[in-house]
């Protein structure tokens, strides 16, 4: 990546993570200044990380690294050690090999209620349109009131086509129609909007698996990507969401939405560490351009401060 682009990206992310940055870096500075014994300092660091939604286990593992590294616990070396550890956790997830030659490329977007699936889809559609692709959206949230209208309004704004049925219709059949339409029109990308569902509802989870299966009957290897949208303000429940959705429909990547609001975003680290699912995009605001590709180094630096 060239230096200019990196700076630009870094500034944008830093601004969106401003709060978390000040919480973590201020906290680290305070702890380092505070003196005290080594064990006490390490415990304070652990609490600070837990407070950033990094999770008890992952925070424990990171602090263990800091403790066993034998470094002196000053602000700079602690920050560097933690940052390197986070980068190595985040870089450890494998990016799936995506076959972009198959047309249409089918992306299914899943998640619990209210994480920001539809908005993320609008941003994704905008991204693909800008790259010159023809995009078709499938309105498979046939359950929530006005979900279809919401998707249509966004589609209008970004200039994508929509395939829809009536509210209450079978979601899988909408996906089937959308994939067939895209295939016959020779379009590049299909993005499937699904209804929000809590990962504990077995029948709804079965339904989302079925939607995925149905697309594979129309297009070879579909869905090529399954993106799970997580809400950055959600805590450790995100892990059980990621686990459950991976089990039923093979999540290939995560979109972390609403990262602009939360003071934290540390859950990203916990998910990478415990599940190894790659984070693909982050949502950093309400406008259509506010979707950035995820980069471990930029993220870790923005989270912890320093250069």
């Amino acid at each position: 990546m060239n230096a200019d682009l990196f700076q630009k990206k870094f500034q944008a992310l830093k601004a969106s993570l401003k709060k978390s940055r000040s919480v973590l870096s201020d906290g680290l500075a305070r702890i380092a200044r505070g003196g005290g014994d080594r064990a006490g300092t390490l415990e304070s660091i652990e609490e600070l990380l837990i407070g950033a939604d990094i999770g008890v286990r992952t925070a424990g593992a990171i602090v263990e690294k800091v403790g066993s590294s034998g470094i002196s616990l000053n602000e700079e070396s602690v920050r560097d050690t933690i940052r390197n550890e986070i980068i190595s956790i985040l870089s450890g997830t494998c990016q799936p090999g995506v076959d972009l030659l198959v047309k249409p490329h089918v992306i299914m977007v899943v998640g619990v209620n209210g994480t920001g699936k539809t908005t993320t889809i609008a941003k994704l559609a905008h991204r693909y349109k800008t790259a010159g692709n023809q995009v078709l959206l499938a309105a498979c949230d046939t359950f929530r009131a006005a979900a279809i209208e919401q998707l249509e309004i966004w589609a209008g704004r970004v200039g994508a086509d929509v395939v829809k049925h009536k509210p209450g219709a079978d979601a899988a059949s909408v996906a089937y129609d959308a994939c067939s339409a895209a295939a016959s029109r020779g379009m590049d990308t299909v993005i499937i909007d699904t209804a929000g569902r809590l990962q504990t509802k077995k029948n709804l989870m079965d339904e989302v698996a079925k939607i995925g299966r149905v697309t594979g009957k129309v297009v070879d290897g579909a869905p090529h990507e399954v993106l799970l949208v997580l809400d950055a303000t959600t805590g450790q429940n995100s892990i059980s969401q990621a686990k459950a959705f991976s089990e039923v429909c093979g999540v290939t990547g995560i979109v972390m939405a609403k990262l602009d609001g939360t003071a934290k975003g540390g859950i990203v680290v916990a998910i990478a560490k415990e599940l190894g699912i790659p984070i693909q995009f982050i949502g950093t605001g309400e406008s259509i351009d506010d979707l950035a590709a995820f980069d471990p180094e930029t993220f870790a630096t923005a989270l912890l401060g320093g250069d």
Binding site: Q150, G235, K258
Partner: protein
């Protein structure tokens, strides 16, 4: 909800419960596990610290150390502290003496405000109150359509102005319309906003200053992480919060937000959302929730729900039949219907003391559907006297219900056992009966 936190706490407390004598070390060890359970459940770390400190101070007081059953006293302290952390008694929204009661609903994007508004309206209309929802979300595409659709489902009137970009004005005019119709309440559904977005927060304070709501409700996602305290703090300091609705509590195994939010905002949790349907809104009872978290069940809510849904005359008839031992498959079918009305099985089981661990057994709703299908494929003679169901009838019933003969066999066998078990019902053995039927 709370399954995970509950399992961990239970095992931590179980270890200490049995001790005849408790040392300071026992308490410290138990509290370490308690701390971990709470942190993993997303309870804010500052709240956890305060909580464990409080429990420790009380537990190390003379009373516990000298008690004959110190372990149980310790559990009692944890229970009471949990309960107090979540508030004081049930606090529903009270309607103002001079109608209309003005309610403003605010919260983050995706927390479930619009659904919560509709659920609240449904609750009021069931009490015979007439009101209006005001669609004040001018930002999110199709937000007005969503409220309109939900309004029809409640049903309740919805006030909206399409293509108007002044939320304050919409609420003001909506309120005026409600006054002219002498309605009992209005609920303003505002746009989702981040607590760090100063400009958007200003819109809320503008609405508040213009219409002076009797009640400002913060809707928060029950799955919120450590940030729950910041959200609650920001909303309560800039806007002032009278009450909280916690949503999506049916999905969460952790629910730590319930423990953090009240502690930092001071505002009571009034309701919890426990499902996608409009009736899935429960009044929040801190003492019952504390008991659910500690795996002691929540019999009170179960009884209330049963009272709401079960036909008393039917129940009396059934009781007579059970006593006379003339309980038939027909009656059993009726019973299944009643239970289904009470809500998802997992929910019901979660409220029964000692049943929180049943989760692993996989209580499959479809098992209930299968049983229903089998009974429905029987003639009324067969339902009344299952003894007459021979081999060929079994085959026919299996074919008719789309099940296998083994399934029919098992149902009949289980039913005969239930008849026997009913003799024990008076001893409170209901759980065993349900369990034997619903193991998928």
């Amino acid at each position: 909800m709370f399954t995970e936190i509950s399992e961990k706490l239970e095992s931590a407390l179980k270890r200490i419960k049995g001790h005849g004598k408790i040392s300071e070390k026992n308490v410290t060890d138990a509290l370490k596990d308690v701390r971990l359970a709470l942190l993993e459940a997303d309870v804010n770390y500052k709240v956890v610290k305060q909580f464990t400190d409080d429990v420790k101070t009380k537990a190390l007081g003379k009373e516990v150390l000298t008690s004959i059953t110190p372990g149980q006293l310790f559990v009692k302290i944890v229970y009471e502290e949990l309960r107090d952390l979540m508030g004081e008694g049930a606090k529903e929204v009270a309607l103002a003496p001079n109608p209309p009661t003005v309610i403003m609903v605010a919260g983050l994007q995706g927390s479930g405000k619009t659904t919560a508004c509709a659920k609240l309206a449904r609750r009021f209309s069931q009490k015979g109150k007439k009101g209006m929802l005001i669609a004040a979300d001018i930002y999110r595409p199709a937000a007005v359509d969503q409220l309109e659709t939900l309004g029809k489902a409640v049903p309740v009137e919805v006030y909206y102005e399409r293509d108007e970009d002044d939320a304050v004005g919409i609420v003001e005019r909506g309120l005026k319309a409600a006054k002219s119709k002498a309605l009992d309440y209005v609920i303003a559904d505002t746009a989702g906003r981040l607590h760090v977005d100063e400009k958007m927060m200003e819109e809320l304070t503008d609405i508040r200053e213009r219409v002076h709501p009797h009640e400002t409700i913060l809707v928060a996602d029950g799955m919120t992480g450590q940030d729950a305290v910041t959200i609650a703090k920001e909303f309560s300091s800039t806007l002032g919060i009278d009450g909280v609705i916690l949503t999506k509590m049916d999905g969460d195994e952790r629910g730590g937000a319930a423990l953090s939010i009240r502690a930092v905002s001071g505002a009571p949790i009034r309701y919890i959302g426990v499902g996608e349907k409009l009736d899935a809104l429960e009044v929040f009872h801190p003492e019952r929730m504390a008991s659910r978290i500690l795996g002691m069940g929540d019999v009170l809510t179960l009884v209330e729900r049963a009272q709401e849904t079960i036909d008393i005359k039917e129940a009396a008839k059934l009781e007579k039949k059970i006593l006379k031992e003339s309980f038939s498959l027909e009656d059993f079918l009726g019973q299944i219907k009643q239970i289904k009305k009470m809500g998802p099985l997992e929910d019901i089981m979660g409220m029964m003391p000692g049943f929180s661990k049943l989760k692993g057994i996989d209580l499959d709703e479809s098992a209930m559907i299968r049983v229903e299908a089998i009974i429905r494929s029987m003639t009324s003679d067969e339902r009344l006297a299952p003894e007459i169901i021979d081999g060929s009838r079994r085959k026919r019933i299996a074919a008719g219900s789309g099940t296998r003969v083994q399934d029919v066999n098992r149902l009949i066998k289980d039913f005969q056992q239930v008849r026997k078990l009913f003799k024990h019902v008076k001893k409170g053995n209901l759980g065993g009966m349900l369990g034997s039927f619903l193991r998928g």
